[in-house]
């Protein structure tokens, strides 16, 4: 029997307001291989009975050296690697990276390419939220929403399969344009999908959102106040769940987002308190409806636009690029995705740092966990909707 390491970790203080529940403390490893950690995240929980007194997240189990790879690849070759950061929102990652490069190199793309990019990014946001909401139902113990939502997601994956050739990681948005033009009849299929998807979100609401057990498990649990969220750099649905109306598609519009009409849902404390797990969840559900509205407007716009060459603005070679550095941020599915690119004129970036939303959302976990029950820590991790490919890069 391999000798377990002795208890060399200093025991944290017991929150003062807990009545006398003096049992001994235990270190529990919610380890890399755990159904509720959405990937390879290890949370070292120090529990007193059922209550987590201290939670230390350990990451790095999926550190795939994105930044070292990016320094050895040419500018356009990095797009497939950005897809693999947040592998649920690949279109949005590629869009964030490509817009940073286009602004650094001073490349302008046509109106039609911008519209196609918005359409693809918003469809991808819906697919990503479907997974986030589906697995959150699994964390709380509801099997049906997971299967129900994955079935809807398969329709979106079919659309992407036809658009870019692959289901999950697309390499579709290139620097200066797109890899393929819209296949003919594709917009018609997107319209059919919008009609098909219309009743599904209300159906999800009856299935999960207003389910008594779900409300009981997520209402008033793990409240993230707006002030703490801003200080810790939490962005995206997690920040909007705390009532802060902050969405980069409205604050710093890119790729033509200012011409689309959509609202920003924020948490209103329906199930107890503003900023609890339910608010972060319900913001994602409402965001899906808004994204479908954007997709509808984009489809109408694209149907009226004349076809043009989507590869017109793609530079022939990347050997001579302007020198300089830029930090460009976009609203990816999980929050603010920023790319800090430093170019020294060569065909490969000198340094490419990417600030990912899940990395910052996860850092708040150790601050919010003390005092939660173990089952509530699971609900908290699920509501933060982190993807480990993005956390570890």
């Amino acid at each position: 029997m391999t000798e377990p390491r002795e208890l060399n970790i200093p025991l944290g203080p017991l929150p003062s307001d807990v009545e006398d529940v003096h049992g001994e403390r235990m270190i529990l490893q919610m380890g890399p291989q755990h159904p509720a950690t959405h990937g390879v995240l290890r949370i070292e929980l120090e529990t007193d009975g059922e209550m987590a007194v201290r939670a230390v997240p350990h990451i790095g189990y999926l550190h795939r050296c994105f930044e070292k790879v990016a320094e050895n690849m040419q500018w356009p070759q990095i797009v497939p690697y950005t897809d693999r950061l947040d592998y649920l929102g690949s279109m949005n990652n590629a869009l964030g990276y490509v817009l940073a490069c286009e602004k650094l190199f001073g490349i302008e793309v046509s109106e039609r390419v911008r519209a196609i990019r918005v359409l693809a990014a918003e469809l991808n946001r819906v697919a990503s939220h479907l997974v986030a909401v589906g697995t959150y139902g699994l964390d709380i113990g509801a099997w049906t929403p997971f299967l129900f939502l994955f079935q809807q997601r398969e329709h979106i994956l079919d659309l992407f399969d036809e658009l870019s050739g692959s289901r999950l990681l697309y390499n579709y948005i290139w620097i200066g344009g797109l890899s393929h033009d819209l296949p003919d009849g594709w917009l018609k299929k997107v319209r059919d999908f919008l009609v098909y998807m219309q009743p599904k979100i209300p159906e999800l609401n009856t299935l999960l959102t207003y389910n008594k057990i779900f409300l009981e498990r997520t209402g008033k649990v793990a409240v993230l106040p707006a002030e703490t969220a801003i200080q810790w750099g939490v962005t995206g649905p997690n920040l909007r769940g705390s009532g802060v109306k902050w969405d980069l598609r409205k604050i710093e519009p890119y790729s033509g987002y200012e011409t689309y009409d959509f609202e920003i849902p924020t948490g209103t404390g329906e199930a107890g308190r503003v900023g609890d797990c339910f608010d972060r969840y319900v913001v994602r559900v409402r965001e899906m409806e808004q994204s479908l509205r954007i997709v509808e407007q984009a489809v109408q716009r694209l149907e009226r636009m004349p076809a043009d060459d989507v590869r017109a603005a793609i530079p022939k070679t990347f050997s001579k690029v302007p020198v300089g550095e830029i930090y460009f941020r976009t609203e990816a599915t999980k929050g603010e995705l920023g790319f800090y690119a430093v170019s020294d004129g060569k065909s490969k970036p000198y340094r490419l740092k990417c600030r990912t939303p899940s990395f910052c959302s996860l850092s708040v976990l150790s601050k919010m966990s003390p005092g939660l029950l173990i089952a509530d820590v699971v609900a908290l991790v699920g509501s933060l909707d982190i993807v480990l490919g993005e956390v570890d890069r």
Partner: protein, 130 residues
Amino acid sequence: MSFGPIFIFLLAGACFVALALGASRLLAPHRPNAEKNSTYECGELPVGSPWIRFNTRFYVIALIFLVFDVEVLFLFPWAVVLKEMGLFAWLDMAVFIVILVVGLAYVWGKGDLDWVRPKDSSAGSAAGSR
């Protein structure tokens, strides 16, 4: 009242168990090694030992569960023969259930059913206690 069928029933039960355990003992691969026997904790080495003193509240909750589990155990055979036994059996069981409901009310009132939840404290932690 011949006891033959009961004996056959017991015999069948016993040899079914023997067959299941015996077959796996005979035929299944059995290669224990230190790594395989180590405790599974999500792929990590366990820190400290799980043999610790738990709060007494969990013991009380386990007891309460046991009481009502046994109650349900008595309900099953009773429910099967209720139609033949008529009102007398119904009254008899009603008394039994009332006693247990009184017990449940007492325990609920005393707050032993509440899971170990700290009070609703400052920002960033703790759910409301019910």
